[in-house]
Symmetry: C2
Subunit: 315 residues, 2 copies
């Protein structure tokens, strides 16, 4: 198995990516090879400096970089030699099995949707985000901001994709799926949530526990929290700001520290045919290591095949 | 001026309501009378026990109570002698000038909308909520959960109503209005937010500063935060849970303590023709005092007339 990593993505590239690779290999023998895409002249010396064994590594030169503020579609089309464009080319052509970048999020989404494409039957791929919980585990929020306007069917699919990820990657058995809503009882909510409730209740592929409210998001009421990408993005950014607030107040607390989203590495794009992981622009070594580990786990668990198996049934 | 108070509403009624009245009068001479609606046999002895001067107080007996879990419309129709039904009757007939209750929220909304009615030109009245900010002030979130599905025009009206409240009751000059969205730039967001942006930008009645994101909600980026009631309710309940989380972690911090929403008393119904304030079920004396003070301020500042003056222009 091979995992490709964009060495030029993120605010601290390529140094923190190299340090992340070092951490990854430091954890023991891996049945995996890495393809590192980026400026050879910048990357290769850093690999030597950090004493990274080169036998399992291929460096692929990329002469261009898509910057954070560039227009995604335009940049991907015009910069064919960028690390992101090359990464998707390698992934689409089967030369690597997964692709990770902490670079331009929009370009990563466009690449995932148009180079890799959705799994047959998935109307709208989604992006998940982790929400730290007081018991030390992580909840998964889907959609975290890609699909601002959703149909009920989209939410029902996010629930299935999120469930499979929570089961096989986060390790929850029969993960509890909650619908983010503004009341606990069935029939509450806006038109979208009301209709989604019915679909989720009838879905054979998930363990639906009903509505959850805003106050339940930071607790462990459900493992997978489903909502449209507008609500999800507001929720995620508000959760992120709790860490900033705690820092500013000088609060030292293990749990509040876990709202530091730098820790979690990337979020998975769910519903595309191959593993694509998008990192936060501020990703540091620990985040890069985590992203590689998640990609490895997605491959080992054959998560994509498991998703295809469900959606081939025309859910 | 007379303010009517439902003595039977809330988990700690009527005792905490009486204590709140005591706090209200303790702050000095008031140019105001109070109408206290509830079970005479329960209320009158408490007034004596708390040495509340009776010269500015009328007790109106209510033989029924609408309980928290009752169906709002049905309860209001069937319990004409309940404190909430009597309160709205007194308000609608001009026998009092404002009505406050910490009782059944749904019944309070139904009463406000059907007994008092919307200000001419207001399509959908809204309910605001306070969001504590690090600088010690409060932001106003509208809509906090009444209108789960909104049109762009509704959001534009919430912005005007919230602005007038923020200016005259919270004391902000030219309150900054932000649209809760999932990106900073114009054009971002779901269809509702995109269309609302255009209306807010063109509105002559507000100081629109553009989009705000989830991370800005707990800071002081804008004084009035506008969104649909679904998003607003999720945001509000998530903000409330920050206090619970901090308590459970044993965090002692002045700012995190301000997320204790018990402190703020009621939230105003905005866009109905007379002052109606709905308290949290867990309201205690401090909250009741605050609600009376807010009602007093709404009357003194002639907030309803100011709202009518704007909406008569056919915004």
């Amino acid at each position: 198995m091979d995992i490709a990593l964009d060495m030029m993505g993120g605010d601290y590239a390529p140094l923190e990516a190299v340090k992340g690779i070092s951490l990854f290999f430091a954890e023991g023998v891996k049945n995996i090879t890495l393809t590192l895409i980026g400026d050879e002249a910048a990357v290769k010396p850093l690999l030597l400096t950090h004493a990274i064994p080169l036998d399992n590594i291929t460096v692929v030169h990329a002469s261009q970089v898509i910057k954070m503020q560039e227009h995604p579609t335009k940049a991907l089309r015009e910069k064919q030699q960028s690390s992101i464009a090359i990464g998707f080319h390698l992934l689409a052509s089967g030369k690597t099995d997964a692709f990770i970048s902490a670079g331009n999020t929009g370009a990563m989404m466009v690449g995932a949707l148009f180079s890799i494409k959705a799994i047959d039957g998935v109307a709208r791929p989604t992006i998940g985000a982790y929400i730290p919980r007081e018991n030390g585990t992580l909840g998964l929020l889907v959609d975290a901001g890609i699909n601002a306007d959703c149909k009920p069917e989209n939410l029902a699919q996010f629930a299935i994709l999120g469930s499979l990820y929570a089961e096989h990657i986060l390790g929850y058995q029969h993960p509890k799926v909650g619908l983010i809503n503004i009341g606990e009882e069935e029939g509450k909510g806006n038109l979208l949530a009301q209709a989604a409730y019915t679909l989720l209740k009838e879905s054979k592929h998930i363990n639906f526990i009903g509505n959850i409210e805003g106050r339940d998001i930071l607790l462990d009421k459900s493992d997978v929290m489903v909502c449209d990408g507008f609500t999800g993005n507001v929720v995620l950014k508000m959760a992120e700001s709790i860490y900033d607030l705690a820092q500013r107040r000088g609060i030292q607390d293990e749990h509040f520290d876990r709202f530091n989203f730098e820790m979690y590495g990337g979020v998975p794009v769910l519903g595309v045919a191959k593993p694509v992981i998008i990192g936060h622009g501020i990703s540091k070594d620990f985040a890069f290591k985590n992203m590689i580990l998640i990609a490895q786990r997605m491959l080992e668990k054959e998560l994509m095949q498991k998703m295809k198996d469900v959606f081939v049934q025309k859910v």
